[in-house]
């Protein structure tokens, strides 16, 4: 479904991606691990078009999408739930969700999807008129996920969905992501919480300074000595 080939990208003189290869099959949940600064967020930002690649290809459903605008990538079917949630703090919950469907024109279906998100996250329905910035961290994460779903993506990129959340909320968040995948949406997830992420994922990639250094089935990675030492706390 998604294939990255020799992807290079960076910020001015900083090279964040130095020839990255990665693949996600339809229906998979793939997780991307790596230390701080390894280039995980940059990978997702390059896929979604926020960061222009300097070299390499991004193939989605057979079409090359590297260097396209974020709106084109979203229309092609890839939504990006960014690191740190990034809800629009002074828009209401409802307006945030509407922004998720910004590129869609099918009004009736959008309304139905909005109801579906509210049904899935009743707390968002209760808070629909409230500014998103007044929500708790966990509620903001629900909103960020609901907002990404409003685009009806076929592939969702999650960047550290558990960042800064209380342990119980982390579990809920991972359950939601498992649900999304079960409903047929493919998931590529960046996560620091490697143990939880690998338990849920089909496959995993490990990234170090802009390159993939290890990949394989999630259960193999969980047992891998290097992964255990570096990301699972021994």
């Amino acid at each position: 479904m998604l294939r990255l080939e020799g992807l290079r990208a960076g910020y001015g003189p900083i090279e964040a991606l130095r020839g990255l290869d990665l693949e996600v099959q339809q229906g998979e949940l793939v997780c991307l691990l790596g230390a701080n600064g390894a280039g995980k967020s940059s990978t997702l930002r390059t896929i979604s078009g926020l960061l222009r690649p300097r070299a390499g290809r991004i193939v989605f459903d057979g079409a090359e999408i590297q260097g396209r605008d974020p709106s084109d990538v979203l229309r092609a079917g890839i939504a990006h739930c960014p690191e740190g949630r990034r809800v629009f703090p002074y828009l209401t919950v409802r307006e945030n969700l509407a922004m998720g469907a910004y590129v869609r024109r099918d009004g009736a279906a959008i309304a139905a999807d909005l109801e579906r998100v509210y049904a899935h996250f009743p707390i968002l329905a209760d808070r629909r008129r409230q500014a998103a910035g007044t929500l708790s961290g966990g509620e903001q994460q629900m909103l960020a996920i609901g907002r990404a779903l409003m685009a009806r993506p076929r592939l969702i990129l999650f960047d550290e969905p558990s960042l800064g959340l209380a342990p119980t909320v982390v579990e809920t968040t991972f359950e939601i992501i498992a649900d999304i995948r079960r409903d047929g949406t493919t998931v590529l997830m960046v996560e620091q919480n490697a143990r939880l992420a690998l338990r849920m994922a089909d496959r995993g990639y490990v990234m170090e300074s802009g390159r993939i250094v290890l990949s394989g089935a999630a259960r193999n990675l969980l047992a891998d000595d290097h992964v255990r030492a570096a990301y699972l706390g021994g």
Binding site: S48, G49, L50, D69, P70, S71, L74, R75, A79, H80, P82, R86, F88, P89, Y90, L91, E95, A98, M99, G100, Y102, V103, A131, G133, R147, A151
Partner: protein, 290 residues
């Protein structure tokens, strides 16, 4: 007492157009981080567009106002596409210098096109004032304040209630995430600059017939617009509206009770006081663009 009421009414007439100017400037600054020194030139453009439509084409006043708004929007869009779009990502200082260039270029183009002599803009309203109880107001001024109120209302509806306005506010709050939602940031910038310039042009078309049109009239308008934005807080629509009205009333009271020569000074004294005691603006709150 009656005199005070009369000053208040006159102040609101002036303040309504200041609010239009301030809303335009605050939107452009808030959304694009562009310090638009040329803002007042769009005010001048509006006044001359109204002059051409009224004196030469003989159009009705409302059509002249619409022509001025269209001229402001068009030139604003052009300015954004030709000058600001290529400079996106450059430092705010660079963009400031470019806008100073636009200011000088536009003002001299106006001087070239219209000559240095002030022109009075003909308008179809009777000059005899209407008497409403203790108040006297010229029909033109009444039209000006009502139209300004309507335009402020429309701007508010656009920003708060439409899909475009929501995208503008989202872009202001978090540009990258708005882009991730598929918002075309470049187009939002063009629309914002065109919209802000159109509001300035509307102010010029409204206030032009009250006073006179001359090529450097935009300088004072820019100063007023910046004052309003300082009063109201950057990117704050409600603040710009209240700030504009407040500035208009303060000037009118200063001119009425102190001396008409101090009209402009009163406004600036108010700004200095605000900067001393409430540097984030009188109506500072966390929310901006909205």
């Amino acid at each position: 007492m009656e005199q005070l009421l009369q000053h208040l009414v006159n102040g609101l007439v002036l303040g309504g157009t200041y609010a239009l100017l301030g809303i335009g400037l605050t939107l452009i600054f808030g959304l694009m981080s562009v310090v638009n020194f040329a803002h007042g030139e769009f005010y001048t453009l509006g006044a001359y567009a109204a002059f051409a439509a009224l004196a030469w084409a003989g159009l009705p006043f409302v059509a002249a106002l619409l022509a001025a708004i269209a001229a402001g929007a068009l030139l604003g869009a052009l300015c954004e596409r030709a000058l600001l779009r290529p400079l996106r990502g450059h430092s705010i200082d660079t963009i400031m210098l470019v806008m100073i260039g636009v200011w000088i270029a536009m003002q001299n183009a106006e001087l070239l096109a219209w000559g240095g002599v002030a022109r009075s803009i003909p308008h179809p309203f009777p000059t005899a004032p209407l008497t409403l109880g203790p108040l006297n107001i010229a029909p033109l001024r009444l039209f000006v304040v009502l139209t300004a109120a309507a335009l402020i209302g429309l701007a508010w509806l656009l920003i708060q209630k439409t899909r475009l306005g929501t995208a503008m506010r989202a872009t202001f709050q978090d540009r990258d995430t708005a882009a991730l939602m598929g918002v075309p940031i470049g187009r939002i910038h063009t629309i914002t600059f065109a919209f802000g310039s159109a509001l300035a042009a509307a102010a010029g078309a409204l206030l032009g017939p009250v006073f006179l049109a001359y090529p450097s009239m935009g300088d004072l308008a820019s100063l007023k617009a910046f004052s309003v934005v300082i009063l109201g807080g950057l990117g704050n629509l409600a603040g710009a509206t209240l700030g504009g009205l407040l500035l208009g009333v303060a000037e009118e009271l200063g001119a009425g009770y102190v001396s008409s020569g101090y009209r402009d000074a009163v406004g600036f004294v108010a700004i200095i006081l605000v900067l001393l005691f409430r540097p984030a603006g009188l109506f500072a709150r966390a929310e901006r663009i909205g």
